[in-house]
Symmetry: C2
Subunit: 160 residues, 2 copies
DNA sequence: TTCACTGCAAACGCTTTGCATATGG
DNA sequence: CCATATGCAAAGCGTTTGCAGTGAA
């Protein structure tokens, strides 16, 4: 991961902490560092493992507490898909949308610059927007073909 | 709630059940009926209460099971905001977006026809879209003013 | 008649909480 | 110094699971 991104993220966190009268503890920066070492979606457990490979152990309580801080600053986004919680660093990969297959549950990412700029540029009433999360629901390509085959079979049966 | 919407929803469910070799049990239709009697976001518990006022009691297992069916047909959408799960009937109020305040957690709805038509019309690669969910994150108006006051105080202090 | 569905209660696992200890400012 | 954070372990609670009984097809 690009270190300049990491240091930018650390600065954002530091400013936020000072601004809100919170402490700049080593745990918080170590967690942020690990978060920005992860690729794509990750669970708390996976994050914890990443931290241990860096020889930095933190308690679950601290992990949860810190992730909530990172969420508040939007250095991290949280997803809850099929009752599974995953996190994602926001600076990496920037704003992107997710496609979720309602049949098999597969999640894929879509980069849609057009949408991003439209949505980020939106002026909302009585609301100061800082970001967004967008999920598309539907059928992934392999589930589509499954359904087509199923349908074809059914029609063949009817025409017998 | 408009009964024609309820009966349309019931038809969608019935078709889905037949299509997938599932049974048309009274519980499933009673649950759907209650779902479409709710206003806005609701929890499973609130849904359960609504059902009891209709003198129809179902077990939690059945409630969860059925809500998953309704989610699969997209007769219902599930939100998980601040670790709280809420459901919402999709036919009522159609497609709309949510504004979530990252400071106080307040959730408000936005009707943005423009966005809806843009997003629904989007052709996604290797994906057959059937709907979407969009969340805007930022500061609600009252939290904005709070921050402004805080900032003003701070500046006044510095200029002393 | 059969197999999917329901109800019940127990199990599960993620998240929160309380308290003693440690530490940043 | 003291208010905030951390670690640990226990508690909490929404969701899932297993199994026996029920009922739709």
């Amino acid at each position: 991961m690009d270190d300049s991104i990491k240091s930018k993220a650390a600065k954002i966190l530091a400013d936020f902490l000072v601004e809100n009268g919170k402490r700049k503890t080593p745990e918080r920066f170590a967690i942020l560092n690990s978060v920005y070492s992860m690729r794509g979606h990750f669970s708390l457990e996976e994050l914890s493992e990443e931290m241990e490979t860096n020889n930095f152990r933190v308690s679950k309580a601290t992990l949860y507490n810190t992730m909530n801080l990172l969420l508040a600053v939007r250095l991290v986004v949280k997803h809850n898909i099929d009752n599974v919680t995953k996190y994602e660093a926001t600076f990496i990969n920037g704003n992107h949308c997710h496609q979720i297959c309602t049949n098999c549950g597969k999640v894929t990412e879509v980069n849609t610059m057009a949408i991003t700029t439209t949505l980020m540029g939106m002026k909302l009433k009585r609301f100061h927007q800082e970001g967004f999360t967008l999920y598309f629901y539907g059928l992934c390509s392999s589930c589509q073909t499954k359904f087509k085959r199923k349908l074809a079979k059914k029609l063949a049966k009817q025409n017998k």
